[in-house]
């Protein structure tokens, strides 16, 4: 009461509070109209044919660079073709998007469509009010749409016998190489290394005969993504997790696969640097070979053009004569609305984003893989582009042997993955940690985290 009386007597204090609060509000109004810009279509909402609005939360939208530009092109193309559907995009970083969607879902207002990374697939199924994308398609349209899809790619989004999330921004590990550096080192850029033994000797030759570094594997990376780790383990006949969900990355095949990454470093074929630095080195034309996601393709092409060097790609090298079994990174499209009208709009949007046209935009502007073989062969879509720019072809070829990404389930899945990357993969690859002992110790801790 005293405080209230005090405030009553001192209008000035109240005035400050009100003015600050009003300042917040006024700022809001200024932000809407201050620069004359509006959300696309905002002014037409009250028009006669009111469009239905859906929100799309994406980790590519709004980012500076090619990912953001490519995503904006997709949105523009969809808006032009579907004036009856207004998409409100929201950009959230990949690492936070699942938490953001979860908070919004708890508040009863999740985005109708969300692009979430495959490493959060189990989290999404356990914690988000998902509506399987297969269920929202009108009768007949689902079959017609997936008829042109790569079967292996479609399987990425499968759970309990149906497609829960639509595979969208997908990439696989690809060996990028600087053809000019290979020539300087006396290597044949037309015959890039196909096995890890060949990679090792080519890299050592690069180090010896040029000023550049040899090779780098983005297995240990700041994003703590384990898709290259999994691709290496799979390709040597191992698995990340066993059938019963326990850690299997301490098996002899996995140990051997990661020991290979250590040997590259210890022999001098691979520099002892962080992944970000390797990206910069490769872009600068000072790294011969770099195994990473195809999502970096467009950026590398830009750097190669600017730096006047020749960029080429090859598939992920094999362990001897064993088949290469890559897994994927990237994300899928998840639908989170019960409303039939919003579901219909969401389906149209998802169908567009996974159409020949959209995959052409994704592949040409960013480097995500076209998951519809028809788009690859069609000269009006990607066909003629790929003829002139064959850099994506090795990664597309790998799609036939794609192993779905294994995510670590449960509430501590993300911690378990970080543990694997931070305390096993990075120390083994870069710091000389003993592969057998390290993987065994980390596997025990991961099992504890994943235990139901």
């Amino acid at each position: 009461m005293v405080v209230v009386r005090m405030l009553g007597r001192h209008g000035l204090v109240m005035l400050v509070v009100v003015a600050l609060a009003a300042g917040c509000g006024a700022g809001g109004e200024a932000a809407d109209g201050g620069d004359g810009s509006q959300t696309p279509g905002a002014g037409t909402q009250q028009d006669a044919a009111e469009p239905i609005t859906i929100t799309w939360e994406s980790y590519n939208y709004g980012t500076q660079g090619l990912g953001g530009e490519g995503t904006q092109r997709l949105l523009d193309a969809f808006a032009e073709q579907h004036p009856d559907i207004r998409v409100e995009p929201v950009g959230t970083p990949a690492g936070e998007i699942h938490t953001s969607v979860q908070a919004k879902a708890a508040a009863g207002d999740p985005p109708e469509v969300a692009q979430i990374g495959w490493s959060k697939f189990a989290f999404a199924q356990e914690n988000l009010p998902l509506v399987p994308v297969q269920e929202i398609a009108p009768p007949g349209e689902w079959e017609a749409h997936v008829a042109g899809f790569s079967e292996q790619a479609l399987a990425i989004g499968e759970a309990d016998g149906q497609i829960v999330a639509m595979p969208y921004a997908v990439s696989t590990p690809t060996l990028f190489y600087n053809a000019d550096l290979l020539r300087q080192a006396g290597l044949d850029p037309d015959a890039p290394p196909e096995t890890w033994d060949e990679v090792r000797s080519a890299a050592l030759q690069l180090v010896e005969r040029t000023d550049a570094e040899g090779v780098y594997l983005a297995a240990a990376n700041a994003a703590k993504s384990d898709f290259i780790t999994q691709s290496l383990i799979n390709s040597n006949g191992g698995r990340l997790l066993a059938e019963d969900g326990t850690a299997a990355f301490d098996g002899p095949e996995a140990v051997e696969a990661l020991a290979m990454t250590q040997d590259l470093t210890e022999s001098g074929a691979q520099p002892r640097i962080a992944d970000d630095e390797a990206v910069a080195l490769f872009r600068a034309g000072r790294l011969g070979m770099y195994l990473t996601s195809t999502a970096l393709l467009a950026g590398f092409q830009e750097a190669a053009t600017d730096g006047d060097w020749e960029l080429r790609t090859a598939g992920m090298p094999a362990f001897g004569a064993q088949p290469v079994r890559v897994t994927n990174s990237g994300g899928g499209l998840f639908v989170l609305t019960d409303d039939p009208e919003e579901q219909a709009a969401a389906w149209e949007f998802v169908r567009f984003l996974t159409s020949d046209e959209a995959f052409t935009i994704l592949a040409t502007t960013i480097g995500y893989l076209p998951l519809r073989p028809a788009a690859v062969d069609d000269p009006d879509q990607l066909g003629s582009y790929l003829e002139e720019n064959p850099a994506l072809l090795p990664a597309i070829a790998q799609l036939d042997e794609l192993e779905p990404y294994q995510d670590m389930p449960g509430p501590d899945g993300a911690r378990a993955r970080e543990l694997l990357q931070d305390e096993a993969v990075a120390p083994i690859m870069l710091d000389g940690a003993d592969p057998t002992a390290t993987l065994s110790a980390v596997a025990d801790r991961v099992d504890e985290l994943l235990a139901p």
């Binding site: 405080v3 709004g62 929201v90």
Partner: protein
Amino acid sequence: MTVRELRATLSAHALVVLVCVFSALPVVWAVSTSFKGPAAIFAPDLVPADPTLDNYRATLATFPVARLVLNTGAVAAAVAALQLLLAVLAAYGLVRFRFRGGPVVLTALAAAIIVPQQCLIVPNYLLAAQMGWIDTYVGLAAPQLAGCALGVLLLHQHVRAFPRSLLDAAQIDGAGHATVLWRIVVPNLRPVLVALAVLFFITSWNEYLWPLLVASGTERATVQVGLQAFQTEQGNDWGRMMAAAVLVTAPVLLAYGLAQRWIVAAFVQGTGR
């Protein structure tokens, strides 16, 4: 000055210089990186060998520097001012009015400081959604006001240390609590209030998680969320990110430079009393 005194002064200065260099190095490195081309980003040169303005050109062409600075500045200023007001009122009330549960309130405030912000994200979001504050400036600022607990505790100590006889004398002379608070207590607490205001402003300016959730990728995005846009799935653009960081920091540094005289004066004023 004896040799011993000189040695002590020199040692103290050397330590201060070392701390300054240590604190300034990341900032200097960020400025240096902003002038480096892609090929030299990781080069260990403090002065770029081949400086370029490309990062600034590209950033200014696509990155909404002014909007982000205005958004963040407005929110941080409002949060700092309101937190200060709440902290002053609460601290004065807790010291001057004896009421049942006072110690419990103080304990609860201390507990509030140690609760990680991440634990409050979902309940805060639910509340903000129910209030219709999502994607609004009020939504950005309001939940941050609860972060004034540290201020209340600090001011509580200062108000408690205030000579009680002085306050009682003012009241005997007919001054009400409001007069005592605003005319006597607050002017004498100016140094600590200025320090708290700066602390509150910086904390709000650096806020990342809440603005990301409540106003991400929209017209109301803040500086810290905006800078994240350079870290993408297609790689991190450190050169442009550092250019953007320099651009968004410059206005605040400039404002501090201009206001430095008053801020220092406010610190100094009262310390001799």
